[in-house]
């Protein structure tokens, strides 16, 4: 196995865990369900 890849995979999983513990998915959802006029380039 590529040890760096495994390390980054574990690090990524740990960061996901931290984010979930901080309730980030809910904040991400609040952003994603808003009408993002910036995405369209207006407003």
């Amino acid at each position: 196995m590529k040890l760096t890849g495994v390390f980054l995979l574990i690090l990524g999983a740990a960061l996901i865990g931290v984010g979930v513990a901080l309730d980030e998915p809910a904040a991400a959802m609040m952003n994603a369900v808003m009408l993002c006029l910036a995405c369209l380039g207006v407003g």
């Binding site: 990524g12 960061l15 984010g19 980030e24 952003n31 995405c39 369209l40």
Partner: protein, 289 residues
Amino acid sequence: MRPLIQALATVAQNLYLVFPWTRNIYQGGLKKYCVPGLNCHSCPSALFACPVGTLQHFLAGAKGAVRWTGYRLGFSVIGFLLAVGALTGRLTCGWLCPFGFLQESLHRIPSRKLRFPGGLGAVKYAVSILLVVVLPVALSRATAPGEPWYCKLLCPAGTLEAGPLFFVMPELLEQIGPIFLFKLMLLAGLLILAVFVFRPFCRLFCPLGLLYGLLNRVSLLGLRFEKEACEGCGECLASCRMGLDPRVADPDPECTRCFDCLKGVCPNGALSLRPMGSRPTSRDCGRIT
């Protein structure tokens, strides 16, 4: 096979097809989760969040998050991107990204095909770091979050996929200004360019391609090249539309892991898939000595 999977992935990420009747974007619970590719979450039919848009959202609010001890700095998005990249490198680009699929489809239009100038690869680094990280953080305050500058100034996927909003919300037409017109011209230019050059957006501007590409070198999935079996016929070079040498391309940040070079191209089977978890050997790509 790959175009079919790309098409299915595009449809699966954009299945909220009742938006012309609801006259709004999808607002359900799936939007808590990011897709690995570039798919604008302001597309009315998008079911999931865009990782680039979500990351900018967290970075733009970082000063406030620290000040108000919320500490929501986008750990989950960064972790998700790291995990996907560490597992598969740029596989997402080659198989799952809707905007990559669109560019590849346009490239199938018969025309004279041009090579991508190699020196322009650095543009992606400058654009991604400046618009995704630096400006969202720098142009924000603790009391007022910044803006997703990559989405606002550049992202052609947003221009294209959020475009149907104009049909369901015609009042938005009144807000069209120079930024939208610039983005529209950029989108048109990139789509026309995609007919002649393979995946110009991915090579010039995509921050996801940049991150996943950097992780190509360490990802668990990759290509294996058996030097002893290679007769040097060059068939595999001709099969790579990114203009790479598949014998050494696996760690190359531009390899989108499409694996077109594996489809019976090599008469001696010198190229094969290195599955996840197997120990890399001197036969692996990029380790030719």
